[in-house]
Symmetry: C2
Subunit: 902 residues, 2 copies
């Protein structure tokens, strides 16, 4: 990139403002908003912004600046001096500067700042003469020395703090405020000595040198460890660097007619349309944040409410904690005027900083205010009612992912927590319970009314009942799409997965984290939204879905183009899904039912039988149970489509694997140990993911699907007979890779269906379709579409096979892949649009070329993830299907996709 001939610096102030809010990429968020405020006539200390291009150039060119930068900066300094009527480095009337970072995305507190720049042994004198506040000036100088040395010169601040402490102990005072102007002056001398000793040179006196060092420090801080880590954690990518904002200093600590504060145009935690903020008299911005002094409320109303809460008398309140409204009524009015102006201008709730210097108000910052999910929804809905924004804008204002916080219980934020370790935030919510290490204990505890957290190295389908019975799940192994995570999300159950620190010893029924040992029946708490594992019982708060939530969702529904279905395997899940707005079931997994009650015994009988007759006998016991399963789900989903996936997992998942488990099952089944062990061994697979499962089972054992199809049809027939309501079962055949698999199994199913219908004398529509989850199926979708009435993209497996990643194993390298930006995000969490998406596009194109009315949806985990949902909208699927608890997220995300793309 060459920016040498470009404009590198943008001025804002009376001398003319060159930027505006739209130039966020180039000027950073702070710089763009400072320019915008200036243009709006809001009082802002003048200044200028060095563009993010300069920082990008700096890193691309071996830490050199573009040639023009120097002259452009000096030119802007001259403009600034003119604006402020002061001179940078002038002994009489010195202009002091703040030098701050500010990228296009917010990296709060991660980068460096230098304040009070321009002070030296000479300007100090001028400033004292001008301001008449000697102590304030010496204090500012020594603060500048410490900050500048630390940030720009590599001299750690603790060297200076040690001198300050030493002086205080010499003077026998406790508080900085107790040091006099003389003390501060002496401290400056001591700082100089420290600096010289450590750097071997004098502290820089030339303001221009100071400025360039500070600019360099800000640019460097773009790539400090904290900033890199924050960007990684928050997925902030593709930014060139930070802008550098250089602005005239203003001081809120120049006496009782000065003050500083932070305020929000509405309440950021409830969203209520009330002015909210705090201020301090005679203080600097950092004092409000640092919490040394108790900040006071801006409004009288809030101040009185605070006093009432804290049993402070009106007399004391007025003396010690008056509101700004009362102390500086004119200034307060002005602030209210400006905050209204800014909110109306930006049409969003604003987070603002202001300073009053000797009776004059300055705004130092405005930005979009961070808010809770609940507040986000209220503000969005209110602003539509206030005609500030459109419904479409309102829908874009709420992060779909944030809805998740509203749908699950959360920990009381006011209670302190003893965090033991952190794992993957696999399924949100808050759970508290006694530790148990197996499904049976969880079940038994549930019967006794005891809440439990099920702790496992990893879970398997055998644990399903225990997972259902417990309150939360903690696993030591597995990622966001591990069995535990997927099942837990489906159940809306809190889960922390892949917590590698947790060393489980099943034998002693304990787990260790470091040297902490947690025993069976000890209480722990899981935060599924953060991944935290907490010792003891943390109190939780149940969420309430307010009317605003429903309003927003109704707007979303009126705008989105795709349907939303749920992945639900039980009547209970189906009900939850329907309550959350699901318009059908996109994936009903039948294998989970195989573990319920006594069925597993029949399932195992079927597997262990070597003859067709034996298998059919065992299956005939399952048939009425499965029929009931489906019947009860149909009842919950009256009028809506239900897609049922026939058996998918390999048969060995239904058998135990360890010697002791095999032994105990062999005793329970009265089977010789060796017979069972041999079967387990025979079914063992090196790569079960690519093994004998899905429709492959039905090719070799057609009787399994035959039973399931019978059960589905009998349930549908019974349902129709009893209710006279229509139900359209959609039978989905998994893992099809070759059209012949589908055509054979469809023919089998059709035969059974027609026989059931004929026997019942009932007419029913039904569909037979397939999952597209094998890459081969995607690239031969034209052949497959000849037999399929619908495609459902199983993007979990399509990602596994398409990318060649086992979701159980990829944890060992996928983090590194995301860190190195090989994959922008974990492809199991956010659909790999370039690769897996390409397979989907190929499949759609080929499928539609044969069958224009082919219905297409997605039922992988990605169906509930906003960026993946956006992709699904763009390629034109008919529906997305996701966990019940993600249905509202999908509804909103689909509306946003429609607004953004159409």
């Amino acid at each position: 990139m060459s920016v040498e001939k470009h404009k590198l610096v943008y001025f804002f102030g009376e001398g003319g403002t060159e930027g505006d809010a739209s130039m966020r990429e180039l000027l950073g968020g702070k710089g763009a908003n400072l320019a915008e405020m200036t243009k709006l006539g809001v009082p802002v200390p003048s200044g200028f912004t060095i563009t993010t291009d300069v920082c990008g150039y700096y890193y691309e060119n071996g830490r050199q600046y573009p040639e023009d930068l120097k002259s452009q900066v000096l030119e802007n300094i001259r403009k600034l001096e003119k604006d402020m009527g002061m001179s940078f480095g002038d002994n009489k009337n010195p202009l002091l500067l703040s030098v701050r970072s500010g990228a296009a995305a917010s990296l709060p507190g991660m980068m460096d700042t230098v304040l009070n720049l321009g002070l030296n042994d000479e300007t100090v004198k001028g400033l004292i003469a001008k301001s008449g506040h000697e102590r304030f000036v010496w204090d500012s100088y020594r603060r500048f020395m410490q900050m500048f040395s630390d940030v720009a010169m590599g001299v750690d601040h603790h060297h200076f703090e040690a001198e300050l402490e030493l002086l205080k102990s010499e003077k026998n005072v406790k508080n900085d405020l107790d040091l006099s102007a003389e003390d501060m002056k002496a401290l400056v001398e001591r700082y100089k000595t420290v600096y010289k000793k450590l750097k071997g040179e004098e502290f820089p006196q030339n303001p221009e040198d100071q400025l360039w060092k500070a600019i360099e420090a800000v640019c460097e801080s773009w790539n400090n460890d904290r900033a890199i880590a924050y960007r990684e954690m928050n997925g902030i990518k593709n930014l060139k660097g930070t802008a550098v904002n250089i602005q005239a200093m203003v001081f809120g600590n120049m006496g009782e007619d000065s003050s500083t504060g932070v305020c929000f145009s509405r309440d950021p935690s409830t969203g209520e349309n009330v002015f909210y903020g705090e201020y301090l008299i005679n203080a600097q911005g950092e004092d409000v944040v640092a919490g040394i002094r108790t900040p006071r409320s801006m409004t009288k109303e809030a101040s009185c409410a605070w006093a009432a809460n804290n049993q402070v008398s009106e007399e004391v309140r007025l003396r010690d904690f008056p509101s700004l409204e009362e102390v500086m009524p004119e200034i307060f009015k002005e602030i209210v005027r400006i905050k209204d102006q800014l909110e109306n201008h930006y049409t969003d709730m604003q987070d603002m900083e202001f300073t009053v210097q000797q009776g004059k108000l300055y705004f130092l910052q405005t930005r979009r205010g961070k808010r809770t999910a609940q507040a986000a929804i209220k503000i969005a809905v209110d602003m539509v009612n206030e005609k500030l924004i459109t419904k479409e804008e309102a829908l874009l204002r709420v992060e779909p992912e944030d809805l998740d916080h509203l749908l699950h219980p959360v920990f009381d934020p006011n209670v302190s927590k003893n965090v033991l370790t952190k794992g993957l935030n696999a399924s949100p919510g808050a759970a508290v319970g006694k530790v148990v290490f197996n499904a049976e204990d969880a079940l038994q505890a549930k019967e006794e009314g005891i809440r439990t957290i099920l702790v496992r190295v990893e879970t398997s389908p055998e644990d399903i009942k225990g997972m259902d019975a417990c309150d939360g799940i903690l696993t030591a192994r597995g990622g966001a799409t591990s069995h535990a995570a997927v099942v837990a999300r489906g159940m809306g159950k809190c889960c922390v997965a892949g917590c590698g620190d947790v060393l489980i010893d099943y034998k002693s029924q304990t787990f260790k984290v470091g040297d902490k040992v947690v025993k069976k029946n000890d209480f722990i708490s899981l935060n599924g939204s953060t991944g935290e594992v907490i010792l003891g019982e943390v109190p939780t708060i149940e969420p309430e879905l307010s009317g605003n939530f429903a309003t927003l969702m109704s707007w979303a529904d009126s705008i989105r183009k795709l349907k939303v279905r749920a992945n639900a395997d039980t009547p209970k899940d189906s009900k939850v899904a329907r309550d959350f707005g699901a318009e059908g079931i996109g994936l009903c997994r039948t294998e989970h039912m195989f573990f319920e009650g006594d069925r597993i015994t029949s399932v195992r009988e079927m597997i262990l039988s070597d003859t067709l007759e034996g298998r059919e006998k065992a299956l005939s016991k399952l048939l009425p149970m499965q029929e009931n399963d489906f019947y009860n789900i149909f009842k919950e989903m009256i009028g809506l489509p239900v897609t049922i996936r026939l058996l998918d997992p390999p048969l060995h998942e239904f058998l135990p694997h360890t010697e002791s488990e095999i032994r105990s099952l062999s005793e329970a089944m009265r089977l010789p140990y060796q017979v069972l062990a041999n079967k387990v061994e025979a079914l063992h697979e090196s790569n079960p993911m690519l093994g004998h499962r899905g429709c492959r089972l039905a090719i070799t054992y057609p009787e399994i699907y035959d039973m399931q199809v019978s059960a589905i049809m009998r349930a549908a027939i019974r349902f129709k007979k009893e209710t006279n309501e229509d139900i359209i079962p959609e039978i989905m055949i998994p893992l099809v890779g070759k059209s012949e698999e589908l055509s054979i199994l469809k023919a089998n199913a059709t035969k059974i269906i027609e026989a059931e219908l004929k026997a019942s004398n009932i007419e029913l529509s039904y569909l037979i379709g397939t999952m597209i989850e094998v890459p081969r199926a995607a690239v031969t979708a034209d052949k497959i579409a000849e037999s399929a009435e619908f495609f459902s993209f199983g993007t979990n497996d399509l990602t596994q096979m398409g990318c060649g990643f086992s979701r159980d194993d990829a944890g060992s390298f996928l983090k590194e892949y995301v860190r190195k930006d090989i994959y922008g995000e974990d492809p199991f969490q956010s659909l790999d649009q370039e690769g897996v998406g390409e397979l989907m596009k190929i499949a759609m194109k080929k499928g539609l070329s044969v069958n224009k009315s082919l219905k297409m949806g997605i039922c992988g985990e990605h169906g509930g993830e906003p960026s993946s949902i956006d992709f699904c909208h763009r390629i034109g699927l008919n529906y997305v299907s996701c966990s019940p608890f993600r249905v509202p997220i999908a509804r909103l995300a689909l509306a946003q996709a429609a607004i953004r793309n159409d």
Copy 2:
């Protein structure tokens, strides 16, 4: 299908011949050739053929014939009667018929035949009167009754044979020939009684009824168990059914002026251009085949040679074993004339049957003669020299797969074998040795000069040295592309894999098959071409590659468009490959080298190290060893390209897995058991196929590839310095799924390469490319081609991921898939052109769209399989790469592909 208005019957004979050799699909091989011979003027008993369409219709329409069939058959019977001057069912001059099957593909002996049809109590009398051979006629009648009852009426032939035996014992004679005409007549009566008793009705007397029953029997025999099994075994698919050939009977057993024989126009076992065949006087065709009487040679020369070999005097020879040339010189001359005519007409070696009835010669069949691979080559080359066929035709005459038999030792076919069981014919050849159960024993035995067969449940890379040391490999688990199979084929070593009957007990060092126990050091023999496991030592014969082989290969080389490279990992393999005509190495796997000598210790050190420094230290020990590996391969491949694949397998493949193995390694490495066990556990993967391997290793541990790239370049530089010959190393990065993987690793490699070149002051060309084996890579090949200089399709893994089949596990259902014709063939053996091929085509199109000069090849196992090679030719790859021993097969298959497609 509706054939009602079609022509269903084709006549051949003097009355006009309606078919010809080109109508094989419709008339079957036999019918088409009977028509063709008739047209050529060869004496053939007249007859007609009911088309294969009729059989197809029969099965598609609930075993009904097309409406027209009856009238068309009767019409043709009339024509036939006219031709032969006899009448079907006539009491005076009865026409007898043979009714034979004959499909488009040969199913030798699998379907049914009825001879002498038309005989009944009346026609018998007429025939006796006409022929004057009473005994012959009664014998024919009772033979017809037995055959017809068995084949057409469901009365098992043993009921009749029992009557025959009874009569012989009553008459106190041993031989059928000792029964008189009266006896035969009596037997007919007894047969009638048997028939009536079992069927409850009289034996059918109406010739027309007999005919329709016989036609039905032939059609039914298309789907008897034997025929179905044979078609499955030989991959015969997509045929509608069998034709039915109805022909006037002729008799070779009407006295001393009658005879019958089978002959080949050239020697089918050596290919020599000599007339070869056998005949019998006064006999029927089945007598020659059945071996009751010793057949005699056709030619005097062969007869004399036979006599000399069997120490038969000229006198005895002339009396008991004269040649047809001597006995019937005129007939012999006529046969020679006709066989020359037929061979010239068909321009291929013919297999013919003839009958002489009372001095008149008839040809009953001609077809392409089956031949050994050696004969096929000699005949093809000779026929080009004789100007009978072109070189292109010659190349199409040899089955590429058959060459395999010429390249490996084979068992002496004249020795009887005690076959213990049969597994997969994983790698061809014959091997004999003492049973050992681990690599160490194989190595030690080799040092002592003892031949061994390594018997393992399955093999892993740790067994490589043992696999190299032994003479053959037998595994209980794994398919045609299992580790054992792939490595063995690469080594040209005999291997029988996936032999499920073999139950190995490592502890007692024995294996069991059923109740047979084989102990360590027992001799067994393996036939890698058939999969047979044989008890004891079977003597072997070493192959000789004749001049004709070289001639044919040179023709192939001049015609084929694609290059042939070899998959070779060692200098030894490289030499074999080059000797077999390889034009470079397409895949040199570096991981096999990691197991040689002491390197595995350094490899394990590297894996067990938790620090970069530790890993680099261990790798630095490997560097000079790898350099030597590559140097020695370059020496074998002077002037040819060598593609080296960087490390591919997951690291856990280099560590032991069972507790005892881990324990003994921990002792050897002086490491605490638990440290090693923890590492093994940490590296464990649920689906290693989709795990942390290939380029993913290098993304997380770049130092591994860095070392390998250094070693490659140092070897190339040293080679060039020493020989002044150029070598172009092609560095291949495996398992790339996303372009960023390749661009990052290419940049790493380029840095190392340029540093090595700079240090050496040598100029060398090199290429960096990738395997396309992840489906994602195929569908984003345009992105990947931006960094790749070549693509090599790794179709083994592309099949695994594309189809979602683990090659280690798919055995459990893939056989069923092939049986049900879901996949035409095992996709690991023969490329799945529709699916995996589609991924290849997508990748090529996208790759070439970015880089027109992108070099593309295939290095999966499919690179050595003819139908896959044909596909590679059609889609326009630049080369195929295969096991050294398959290089000649690939050369021929590529020539055939060029001839067929261009």
